[in-house]
């Protein structure tokens, strides 16, 4: 499910700068998927790769955050028509199908970058404005998520 924002702010815009983030946010920006300095993503080529098991696989990023603070992830990869989405909590499991996060202690998605389709009004009909998933990253807007 694509959730625009828990606050559903009316000023929300489909640019990375408008991503709602928590105070004291720790930000990660990826300009590629195989850059060691930024963190390595698991590639499954044409198939969908399994989520790494933190017990013996290398995680993309391991870091510390103070309680009450947050972190964000931006995927600034314009080439190749890049799209991204957050793995749902129920799908966040290890190789034995056990949930990675403790029950009722999961991270809450705070904000997402999405695409706005403006309202259209014509004679006799009206289409409300909608938010939806971004088609792909552009030069000025790319997928971003904050927790």
């Amino acid at each position: 499910m694509w959730k625009v924002s828990v606050t559903d702010r009316p000023v929300f815009a489909a640019t990375s700068a408008a991503l709602a983030v928590a105070s004291g946010n720790t930000a990660f920006t990826f300009t590629g998927f195989a850059t060691a300095a930024e963190g390595l993503w698991v590639s499954g080529a044409a198939s969908v790769p399994a989520i790494p098991d933190p017990r013996w696989d290398t995680v993309t990023q391991s870091f510390e955050v103070e309680a009450g603070k947050g972190f964000s992830v931006n995927v600034n990869v314009v080439t190749g028509s890049t799209t991204a989405s957050v793995v749902a909590e129920e799908d966040l499991v290890d190789e034995y199908n056990k949930p990675l996060n403790l029950e009722a202690r999961s991270l809450i998605l705070y904000g997402e970058v999405a695409k706005e389709t403006a309202a259209v009004t014509t004679v006799g009909s009206e289409a409300n404005a909608i938010w939806s998933a971004m088609d792909a990253a552009t030069a000025t807007a790319y997928p971003g998520f904050s927790w």
Partner: protein, 72 residues
């Protein structure tokens, strides 16, 4: 992170991406750490400052007097 999270708790989040017909997944491991302690600034008492000023003035005067009599 949840406001009530305890130090040492580990949480995970994952993001999937598709780029140039390639599928990717990233896993983020976030550990809760303690907030930095707030260090209170120590304010020196005014009487202490005045005392230091008076002491300095007296010492300076004594040195000046000693030099005066020594030269004479």
């Amino acid at each position: 992170m949840p406001a009530g999270a305890e130090v040492g708790e580990v949480h995970y989040a994952a993001v999937r991406a598709v780029s140039a017909s390639q599928n990717y997944v990233a896993l983020f491991e976030c550990t809760v750490k303690a907030a930095p302690e707030v260090v209170e600034e120590v304010v020196e008492e005014e009487s202490g400052v005045m005392g230091a000023v008076i002491t300095t003035a007296l010492v300076t005067a004594a040195i000046a007097a000693a030099l005066f009599f020594f030269v004479l």
